[in-house]
């Protein structure tokens, strides 16, 4: 990574591993539970958040010195709301079905704790270049978990990936279904996402015991 200094590279690397917004900080859980039943929706959500966080962090960082601190939350909300509306309109124009699936959850990116958290904690105190890297890093960390959860939930719950029947056809009884396999209906309902996220947290903490908090 000659392109980035080590310090800058860590801005992207940390949220992906030891400072993941979902598994370590436990932020942004609602959307992780709600839209991960399908891998496609997870990926689109991840990309949307990537855009909103990357651009939003830069904008906030650029105007950080002229925001009166008393109304900074409102300013942050205006910025993120604008960006989310852009994402929403683009989705409606080019991927209407998908925007139906994601429905209100694109709009709810506005209230995603990760975004407000990074604005407050990072963009307000750092230059645009570092803020951009931080935004990208956290959005990637969020996206990675979303995609992992979406992968397992769609594979086990519907037997498909991106809508493609990878395990065979459940009605015509081909592939795995011919030997009696059945889709796991539990994985479709939101509580399953909570358990999958829980298992990811468990695996991560047993691999890196330094992450375990004092009881």
């Amino acid at each position: 990574m000659a392109l980035l200094s080590k310090k800058d590279a860590n801005l992207i690397k940390d949220p992906l591993t030891d400072n993941n917004p979902i598994t370590i900080q436990v932020l942004g859980i609602c959307s992780a539970l709600a839209i991960t039943a399908e891998l496609k929706a997870s990926v689109v959500m991840a990309i949307s958040v990537l855009f909103v966080m990357g651009v939003g962090n830069v904008v906030i960082s650029l105007i950080r010195n002229i925001i009166p601190s008393k109304i900074r939350i409102i300013v942050q909300l205006v910025v993120v709301a604008t960006l989310v509306i852009v994402v929403d309109q683009v989705l409606k124009a080019f991927a209407y079905d998908l925007s139906k699936t994601l429905s209100v959850f694109i709009g709810l990116i506005i209230t995603n704790c990760i975004i407000m958290g990074r604005f407050e904690a990072f963009a307000l105190g750092n230059g645009p270049r570092r803020a951009f890297l931080d935004g990208i890093g956290n959005a990637l960390g969020y996206g990675v978990i979303l995609v992992i959860v979406g992968f397992f939930r769609e594979l086990l719950g519907s037997g498909t990936l991106f809508g493609i029947k990878v395990l065979g056809d459940p009605i015509a009884k081909t592939g795995l279904y011919s030997i009696g396999y059945e889709n796991n209906g539990f994985m479709i309902i939101p509580p399953a996402a909570l358990i999958v996220v829980g298992i990811i947290i468990w695996v991560q903490r047993s691999r890196n015991r330094a992450l375990i908090e004092e009881a």
Binding site: G180, E182, N184, G185, F186, G198
Partner: protein
């Protein structure tokens, strides 16, 4: 040989597989270790004894379940007549019935114990714990609360899920929040609903013959009622257990005997059982009252279930089984005596409510017990707090007479 085994045990204490050996060793023999100092409570019962007592009380239900599996199958096929002369009717206790039941139920038991104990052993080896006996009861409960035709691989997946997520993540036996057997059942219910409800799963062979000319079906009493239909079973059939249902839950008579056995051996709490029965009767009475007051029109989809006589709720479905063997789980239930009354009452109350109001869940017992498992610590917390408050109040009004004058000061500091 006992001496040799013991020497072997001491010698290999820090080997990796020590917990597995130790588990079998203490299961078969009394451990030789004794505590050396201090005062200890001497009890004849340890965890293994407790668990074995519960398993023993479950055996009649298991045996009956085997006979009933065969009986329901042949009855649905029209090969035998319905029995009508009491619990010991010769037509029920036949070798044919038993062998078919054995053939279907034994694999469930083996898979349940096999998978569950394997995971338990694995975690004990990883965590270097002694093997805990908690799974002995769970492994016996699981086959009794599932439909007989459940595919074995589904059971294996559910057991793995239940033991890992329901128990091991919280720290193993004694630390779990939810009853593991019910976690397993809940997982099965939500993951594979077509195998856990409907009119095709309760009688062996119904799934295979569905859609053919020989199709048989066996709707449970609750299932028929939820669809607004009448059921054709007599009260005695329901009491003796000659009805379709999960393997071991049908015989209210044997469950009652098992429950009495557990109460007299002081393994299970009679408070929970009594209050749960009261709770279900209360809810049933409320529903019956609404119907007889004429507040509910007859075309309502709740009409048949709400007009079902209140006390018969205890005879059908898993309510009796849940109250006796699941609600009384000492780990997940309330610990305080007063808390047990609330805990049990709400289990009965909610079970009947879920049964009536949610036709999608004709069996509400497992949901009610899981919900109250979650609330049990809260109930205990308020019971303990209430007790502290009561005693503080008593202390305020109490007059303390010190024996000698120099004790006054120390007492004052204590009560301040």
């Amino acid at each position: 040989m006992k001496e040799k085994l013991h020497a072997f045990r001491v010698k290999n204490q820090d080997k990796k597989w020590f917990p597995v050996f130790s588990g079998f060793h203490t299961f078969l023999f009394t451990p030789k270790e004794t505590t050396h100092n201090g005062t200890h409570i001497k009890g004849a019962d340890d965890l293994k004894r407790t668990m074995n007592t519960v398993v023993m009380s479950l055996v009649p239900c298991l045996i009956f379940g085997m006979f009933n599996t065969g009986y329901q199958h042949y009855l649905a096929l029209g090969e035998i007549e319905a029995v009508s002369n009491g619990f010991f009717s010769a037509g029920f206790w036949t070798m044919d019935n038993f062998l078919l039941g054995l053939w279907k139920v034994l694999p469930l038991v083996i898979v349940s114990y096999g998978v569950g104990l394997a995971i338990e052993f694995l975690f004990c080896v990883i965590k270097k714990h002694e093997i805990e006996e908690g799974y002995l009861v769970t492994g016996m409960l699981v086959p009794l609360i599932v439909p007989v035709d459940l595919p074995l691989w589904m059971l294996a997946v559910a057991v793995a899920f239940g033991v890992v997520i329901g128990k091991e993540v919280f720290g193993g036996t004694g630390m779990n929040i939810l009853n593991p057997a019910l976690t397993i059942r809940a997982f099965l219910f939500f993951a594979y609903p077509t195998w856990m409800s409907g009119d095709k799963v309760w009688v062996h062979g119904a799934v295979d013959t569905a859609g053919t000319a020989d199709a048989i079906s066996g709707e449970t009493v609750l299932g028929s009622l939820a669809q607004g239909a009448e059921h054709s079973y007599s009260l005695l059939d329901m009491f003796y257990g000659f009805i379709p249902g999960s393997v071991g839950e049908t015989s209210a008579l044997l469950i009652l005997l098992g429950g009495l056995f557990l109460v007299f051996t002081k393994i299970a709490s009679w408070r929970i059982m009594v209050s749960a029965v009261l709770g279900s009767l209360a809810m049933g009475l409320i529903f019956n009252g609404i119907v007889s007051a004429g507040w509910l029109p007859e075309y309502s989809k709740f009409y048949t279930l709400m007009s079902f006589p209140y006390w018969q709720h205890l005879l059908v479905g898993g309510l009796a089984f849940g109250i006796v063997f699941m609600a009384t789980d000492p780990v997940t239930g309330s610990q305080t005596n007063k808390g047990k009354w609330y805990y049990g009452f709400f289990i009965g109350f909610l079970s009947v409510m879920i049964r009536v109001f949610n036709p999608g869940y004709p069996e509400g017992v497992f949901l009610a017990i899981l919900l109250m498992n979650v609330f049990a610590p809260t109930i205990d917390h308020y019971v303990v707090r209430g007790n502290i408050k009561k005693r503080l109040k008593r202390l305020k009004t109490a007059t303390i007479y010190p024996r000698t004058s120099d004790e006054v000061d120390s007492l004052k500091t204590e009560t301040a």
